[in-house]
Amino acid sequence: MSSSTSQRFTVDTVETAAATPDTEQPFTALGVKDDEYARIREILGRRPTSCELAMYSVMWSEHCSYKSSRVHLRQFGEKAPETDFLLVGPGENAGVVDVGGDLAVTFKIESHNHPSYVEPYQGAATGVGGIVRDILTMGARPIAVLDPLRFGPADAHDTHRVLPGVVGGIGGYGNSLGLPNIGGEIVFDPCYAGNPLVNALAVGVLRKSEIKLAQAHGSGNHVVLFGARTGGDGIGGASVLASATFDDGKPSKRPSVQVGDPFMEKVLIECCLEIFAEDLVVGIQDLGAAGLSCATTELAAAGLQTKGVGGMDVQLDLAPLRDASLAPEEILMSESQERMMAVVAPATLPRFREICEKWDVTATVIGAVTDTGRLRMTWHGANIVDVDPRTLAHQGPVYERPYHRPAWQDALQADTPDRLARPKTGDELRETVLRMVASPNLADKTWVVEQYDHRVRGNTVLAHGEDSGMLRLDEASGLGIALATDGNGRYTKLDPYHGAQLALAEAYRNVAATGARPLAVTDCLNFGSPEDPEVMWQFAEATRGLADGCLILGTPVTGGNVSFYNQTGESAIHPTPIVGVLGVIDDVTRRTRCAFAAEGETLLLLGETRDEFGGSEWAHVEHAHLGGLPPRVDLERERLLAEILIAGSRDGLLSAAHDLSDGGLIQAVVESALRGGHGVRLVLPEGLDSFVALFSESAGRAVVAVPRGEEQRFTELCGARGLPCARIGVVDGDAVEVEGEFAIPLTELRAAHTGTFPGLFGQ
């Protein structure tokens, strides 16, 4: 078997494949298992050509086929809550929800973990580029991004290579696209040292009537490849970088990293939006993982699936190349960025070309839709691919991976934080507060977010430092959306089922705290190797917990992404499901900020505080301890808290609200005080130990500031609905004072809180 680097050279054709059944094929090197290879031969009734083998290997890879996760992801559909606003659910490039009026919003989160470890800047940049193309593909204008990140220890040498590169890449690409970055997370933990998590969430807006789907139908319609030329980028990237540990990653003469050109993508976005506005495409698909293999098969397969008839013929040699030496197999696997594929009717092709011309975007007809039911490709006349596209796109292997509860789980849960020494005196508490607010996970993140443009497009109502990012969609009506992402690997390690629900609960709470009504969910499931039954158990439990949680909260999962093999050698990362929650707010001028901005206002603590320190930031920072159980989850309570926060915001009863999570009450109070530039005097509730009151991470809580005149109305509202609500102090002075314990001037707190990142990563 030979692959062509020049057209004179003979390629492995369909005919050759039929005639030479015994030819040895390097399927193992491509990550194809023996039984999978056997199935390919069975499907085709012959051995695959080298191009077909390349396509099956990427389309059936973990990254593209979800072969290990599919049986678990099904729950998101099966347990989906009844809703009337879900326009497009999982299965498409991104989910779409109805946000009122004639507007819809599409959003999705995706991971680019492994590429970002190899080449932090380009890995993170192309991660943003990829998810933004998914949003664009739905027919939407991308309007913002968020970036949940996980790194190794903040003081580790390699973190100083990875973090600045990742942040630079996310900023460099996102800023150049004119997309505001309105939120995300930065968390450090030793478990991510050899395997950072770089997840990116993108959101877009479109008219309900203009949703685009990735489908090829209408025999005779053109298949157009447009955008950047195809180079050797990330060949095998999808299978090697995203579906296998580094240990067995094979070296390749081709660059295994993708390099992005944000300028090309920006132009491509504007070009596509003009094309959509004139309704010039039958179907459209972005080229992401598995590049042309994925785009052609998904378009052709979806066409067949929905219309019953379909098929596609492609002349692969017509694809514009950046590197003339590429073999057809490589062209099919290339992950060159900033490329799109559209199905265009002959009548509209001229106008389509005009718009591409206007934006200097190269557009090439490389094939046509057929009614043969086959995906066929030729290379200078030779038949190199002839398959049923559905066997590539939908009939990949599905694994029921074995899983079992780790033997160590009981011991881990039994090792509760109760034995850890706690601060007792006021001075000890004071010192603990100063160390906590300065610890990398809780410290001020301005050093990072200053590198992101959060203002461009002029609709950013809330961004970094607030509980959720908020965007105005409609200047006339004030209609807007809010987005927050959350995840806690330590909680999930202690209890995957409830850990996933805690991530959901926190994102949900963050959205509600700003006054928006949580609507729908996207999730990125970052786990170790699915071939490890203990990791698989974590995955099964987390997905089950998330699906059950979404059902209770009435927020369907609309799409997301799975990232497996996040481990170095044998040691997996903490199971880290990242949950993104989208909310809607009728009038963004009613939003609630988290800053304590007015002297004399009353501070109320909503929810119940229990002695809960399992997986807490305090145990992590002060004792490097991880054990016990995470905080208890009560999703009905989260629901009630959200309703109160939303009502309070809508009716103007709240002047500030801040959700309580990592670091507990004192962390939230310090953040709100510093943001508003006003101190507070706290009087902790009777009968509650000061340490527990200040640092416990009990879920379902928020601290709010209410204008004097509204205090009674608001407390009555809580009382009537049965939400615990305790007066814990007032906004006053220029220090954070806990009566009877300690007082810390804002200046001292600010120095501790803001000094950490510049100290670690330079001015």
């Binding site: 080449e119 180079g231 090309m264």
Partner: protein, 81 residues
């Protein structure tokens, strides 16, 4: 006092968006006959000692660790005469 020059260019197989942007601009400015442009970095490193082989080795090490990102870039080091 000697000067060592480090030229850093993207590996040939890596997309050079900048070089391409320049190349596209040239015809518009009336410059034809250019079939390719690659843009890279040039570092002029001043040493307090002579640019002997030992010094060049040190500069190569600098290029390897700091001046170039060897995942996507390649470099050459030469003493300036």
């Amino acid at each position: 006092m000697a000067r060592v020059v480090v030229d850093v260019m993207l590996k040939p197989e890596i997309l050079d968006a900048q070089g391409q942007a320049v190349q596209r601009a040239l015809p518009r400015l009336g410059f034809d006959g250019v079939v390719g442009v690659r843009q890279g970095k040039r570092f002029e490193v001043e040493l307090d000692g002579p640019a002997d082989e030992a010094a060049l080795e040190r500069v190569r090490a600098m290029a390897e660790t700091l001046l170039a990102n060897t995942v996507i870039e390649e470099f050459t080091v030469k003493a300036e005469v």
